[in-house]
Amino acid sequence: MSDVVDPVVVVRNLTVSVPHDSGSIAVLDGAELTVNSGSRLGLVGESGSGKSMLCRAILGTLHRHDARVSGGTIHIQGRDASFFNDSDWHRLRGTVLGYVSQASLAGLNPTLTVRRHLVHAARAVMALDTRSAERCALEAIEMVELPRANRILDEYPSQLSGGMRQRVVIASALLQRPKLLVADEPTTALDVTVQKSIMDLLVRLTTSLGMSLVLVTHDLALVEEYTNEVVVLYAGATVEAGRTGDVLNDPRHPYTQALQSSRLRLGDKKLTSGMWLPGAPPQPGEWPQGCRFTPRCPHAQDVCSSGGQPRLEAVLSVRRTACIRSEEVFGT
């Protein structure tokens, strides 16, 4: 849509650690992610895989969680984030990076009207007089397609339905028209029809604002329906990345394959045993030698449990997988 073709965010071989006892443990190690301009990317993995940590790394908020980057690189619009100071990050958040957190739905202050929420949010990041801030708030509410915008502005969160509250949260992330919106499980608590309306809205916004979207979720159905690229995270490392249709229809990593086959789909035959993955993902600090998926992998051999976590390697034309046996298991 624009002449900008550079990726908005590029994360390479990222390691993030948190303090633990006397030393530190890695919660991400080998995370890779490229968000192209205008693309909608699904970031998937089980709980504890590091999805939220990766988002915090992109948004420059790791320090709030006692975590820090200890290896690898993050580039935001081509600039190396390791040189950013607090005010650089502060400026980027809002103008380039928008965030809808998992907790933000519960985070709306019940004693403030929607107008005061948005005016606060706008004036916290932009030098605006009250009137311009109010106009900004109104525009944001109209942008998320809430009907009777003026009336909504005077209501309190408790007067709104869950879906409307989520639209208000999205509106406050869009005040400065960011280039990338990171939405962490934005529809988890919502009904399926409301989920559809919110996801449809997000897709329209990416088009109309020329914005990229990172959708963090464990729901592959959402990824399949609403994204065009996907990154699969397991135990802190990216294990597969590529176009959504390619990756989901023809996985090249046994973990992606297992996630796909454990999905419950409408219209499939009844539940069968053997649909699910045995065991649970390893916790940070308990990652096994070699490929971290080895203990649960049906295709694992001795070679898989030596050395470190395999790096992402290109397979096919635009796909990347971190499985060293990919060609043997899945063919070429």
């Binding site: 089980e46 029809t193 989920q195 592959l220 159905a221 399949e224 176009r243 454990s262 419950l264 409408l266």
Partner: protein
């Protein structure tokens, strides 16, 4: 003819809200669940599905209508026997709740929580109860070592399996699962549901599964109802409803399910 596990006739439940308004959570609902059947209740928030099953579990009193569990009137027996009937109900009907974190006592290890139920329901000695509880947990894939960790150190999927083991330890005839998989990872959902269904097959249990997730209902149940604003808008065989929905509302629900058709990706 098979026995009826649940018979609900013209049930209504009305709550008084904090502002003094009345809210009709369930309006004139009638349904039947055969013994040994896996039955689904589908609906969005506010549809009354949770209130309906809470009436079955004896947690909410019906305002109007009749609810029979294996031929016993829930309301009637309460009036006659007071608290004793609640105990009677508890052994008949067990529930697994949506949030495994809040439905387990954080101070009790899974082994202690299940042991308590076994000791009360099966009247075993302390030592035998512990053995039986460990076996029940083993059955849902929680090792004895795991079972001695406090709930907070276990994952959501593991805790939900503990909840299931605890419910089954009471030897219920009817198991009600209210959104049993909506708080846990997708990769673990099939596992939890398979454990639930395994319990029906092995013990002849009747199961009522409440979910907003049509895929969950489609995979597990043979009969279902769709609820909206307190009323049943569609009832029948699950396969029939999911492939040829007759109510407009059911069609809307089905259309909103993501990932059911491939759309052009651009």
């Amino acid at each position: 003819m098979t026995e009826l596990a649940v018979e609900v006739t013209d049930l209504s439940v009305r709550f008084k809200s904090s502002r003094g308004h009345f809210v009709d959570a369930v309006r004139h609902v009638s349904l039947e669940v055969q013994a040994g059947e896996v039955f689904g209740v589908v609906g969005e928030s506010g549809s009354g599905k949770s209130t309906l099953v809470r009436v079955l579990a004896g947690l909410v009193k019906p305002t109007d209508g009749k609810v029979q569990i294996f031929g016993h009137d829930v309301n009637e027996s309460r009036r006659l026997f007071g608290r004793r009937s609640q105990r009677l109900n508890a052994s008949n009907v067990q529930m697994v709740f949506q949030d495994p974190y809040s439905s387990l006592n954080p101070y009790l290890t899974p082994l202690q929580a299940v042991t308590e139920v076994v000791r009360i329901r099966q009247r075993l000695s302390r030592r035998d109860s512990r053995e039986a509880a460990a076996a029940a947990l083993e059955e849902v894939g929680i090792s004895k070592a795991r079972a001695q960790h406090k709930p907070l150190s276990l994952s959501g999927g593991q805790l939900q399996r503990v909840s299931l083991a605890r419910a089954l330890a009471a030897n219920p005839e009817i198991l009600i699962a209210d959104e049993p998989t909506s708080a846990i990872d997708q990769s673990m959902q099939a596992r939890i549901l398979e454990l639930l269904l395994g319990a029906t097959r092995d013990r002849g249990l009747t199961i009522v599964i409440v979910s907003h997730d049509l895929a969950v209902i489609g995979h597990t149940t043979s009969k279902m109802v769709v609820m909206k604003a307190g009323e049943v808008v569609e009832a029948g065989a699950t396969d029939e409803i999911l492939t040829r929905p007759s109510a407009a509302y059911t069609q809307r629900l089905l259309e909103a399910v993501p990932g059911r058709r491939s759309r052009p990706l651009g």
